[in-house]
Amino acid sequence: MNFFLTIIVDGLIQASWLFIVALGLTLVFGVLKILNIAHGSLYALGAYVAATAVTMAAARSLPPGVGFVAMLISVALIASAVGLLLERGLLKMFYGRDEVVLLLVTYAVFLVLEDATKLIWGVNPIYATQPYELFGNLEFAGLYYVGYDLVLIPISAAIGFAIWFGLNRTITGKIVLAVIHNEEMSVSMGVRVNRVYAFAFATGALLAAIAGALTAPKISIQPGLSSDVIILSFAIVVIGGLGSVEGAAVGALLVGLARAASVHLMPQAELFVIYLVMAGVLVFRPEGLFKREMARRI
């Protein structure tokens, strides 16, 4: 029994940060219809900026709590700025092209950001472990967990709720939803779609980077991080249905639990399991779990 509980708790911890990444990816896809390969790079960017912020705070012997807050604030600022810059400065030029071409544009951005992070932070792994001890260790069902890991779960749920609330219960959110459903109609109703695009992309970038920042204390930050994360989050949004917030949550849970289960039961299958889940879902629901079928032109 305890064993299953371990798997569930580990799965939830995994799912919590995966959900934040996938949420950003699915939001960007919903609004801009772009599957953003560079999303993983934004995650890595968040992790790197977080590590720098934490190290700088620690060097000034500030308490870890201050470092944690400084990390989140600096990541939020930099990621939204980079997101806005990417959308307004680059992606804007490619709207209206084939979706595969847009996919390649983000692939190019991924390549550029990959080397840019290497140029700034070097190729050696860096660490930002100070905030990891922030919440001590907790005993839960006879097992010890690092408090930081468990705190990620409510943080992730709060972010998910904030996005859901923002989309469904605020005027701005309603406008974003309108653009997701029918862009042409929104334009004719006077919505400034360009602004919605910029806003949505910046939010997506912010979510990716925040997820990077939150996981930064848990991992060693090194090149290759972005490509691992993008592969995982692709699987999640495809499982959930591209562009769906609920889908991202369920997908993240499934992937998190599947990963945790395989780590405990069959470590060598860790990579397969995610794709097995994805393939299994797609066999029965070719458009993902939460995708509504839409009319098409014959």
Binding site: K33, L35, L90, M93, F94, G96, R97, D98, E99, V100, V101, L103, L104, V105, Y107, A108, V109, F110, L111, V112, E114, D115, A116, K118, L119, S227, I231, F234, A235, V238, L242, Q268, E270, L271, F272, Y275, L276, M278, A279, L282, P286, E287, E293, M294, A295, R296, R297, I298
Partner: protein
């Protein structure tokens, strides 16, 4: 499509390019070999893309062909270059025959993601399999040709170059003939609207599957070339960034001309090796900027530099309207 060119003229062109290898400096020779091999796999992507589906997992067949050839070479001492290419093509084709019909019913981004997922599963399996050298891979011997072995590295390079150019040339000619055939035109029709194709009594899934198998055959043969050129194989062959590069070449080329695929592939290799030489730490950055520049300034690919489009029907924008239904 290059409507004017006669197949015989193309054969002459291939022969001329092969003979050119005699006068090219050595470093260009190995570069051109890789470029020809990459052009072959990217040509497969172009063939498949004519049905409106882009595979982001050609690395699966590339690695599948490569590993098959490497295992057979090490187990039975089969080192003949032509035989290796044929084995690679067969292995790729068999894999494509299994996978193609399964994923033919997906379209658009889901098709791309599924192919990517499958190739990553394969990558994961290769990394974990210690019998195949895990993430380090393993080495194979020097290839021979019809019983001749080449001790002089320059001769060996030329042999590989010649086989690669001739194979890719044959594939290019076959693709041109395919594009002009009834089947090739039906493939284009699937991209425009697969339901209408079904109404005409053709099976869209079947058309996609056949194109998929062709692409897989090209990818398997290309994997055999990459193996022979490097004399080493590792799971990186199946990694998604490898597949991404092939899609990159296909988009760079555009769907105007088969020859554009070769030019695009060569351009990529030149950019890669020059930036490796002068900017060793930032070649990905250069590659990314190059890709962005091409997409921005040559929206119809390199082929649009010399092929003027007569028909306005093949607009890529049409594809976006029908991503909604399975």
């Amino acid at each position: 499509m290059n409507k004017g060119m006669h197949p015989l003229l193309m054969i002459a062109l291939v022969a001329a390019v092969t003979l050119c290898g005699r006068v090219l400096p050595t470093w260009t020779l190995s570069l051109a070999t890789i470029a020809a091999a990459n052009a072959l796999i990217s040509l497969g992507i172009v063939v498949l893309a004519r049905t409106g589906n882009v595979s982001f997992g050609q690395g699966l067949f590339y690695a599948g062909g490569g590993y098959c050839v490497a295992l057979i070479a090490n187990a039975w001492g089969l080192t003949d270059a032509v035989a290796q290419v044929i084995i690679g093509a067969i292995c790729g084709g068999l894999l494509g025959l299994v996978i193609g019909p399964l994923i033919a019913r997906y379209s658009g981004i889901f098709f791309g993601m599924l192919t990517l997922a499958l190739s990553m599963v394969f990558y994961g399996a290769l990394v974990k399999s210690t019998a195949l050298g895990g993430s380090d891979g393993f080495n194979v011997g020097r290839p021979t040709l019809f019983g001749m072995s080449f001790a002089d590295p320059r001769e060996a390079d030329f042999m590989l170059y010649a086989v690669a150019v001739v194979t890719t040339g044959i594939a290019g000619i076959a693709a041109t003939i395919l594009f002009r055939s009834e089947f090739g035109l039906a493939s284009l029709a699937v991209r425009e609207n697969n339901l209408r194709v079904e109404y005409l009594g053709l099976s869209a899934n079947r058309i996609i599957s056949i194109n998929f198998v062709i692409a897989a055959i090209f990818a398997g043969a290309s994997g055999a070339f990459a193996l022979m050129a490097q004399r080493h194989i590792d799971p990186q062959f199946a990694y998604w960034t490898t597949s991404g590069e092939f899609v990159f070449v296909a988009v760079l080329a555009g769907n105007q001309s088969v020859a554009a695929v070769f030019v695009a592939s060569m351009a990529l290799e030149l950019v890669r090796s020059f930036s490796n030489l002068y900017l060793p730490n930032t070649w990905q950055l250069v590659l990314g900027l190059f890709l962005l520049a091409v997409i921005l300034f040559l929206p119809r690919g390199i082929g649009s530099l010399w092929v003027r489009s007569k028909r306005g029907t093949a607009k890529p924008g049409v594809a976006t309207e029908r991503e909604a239904l399975p």
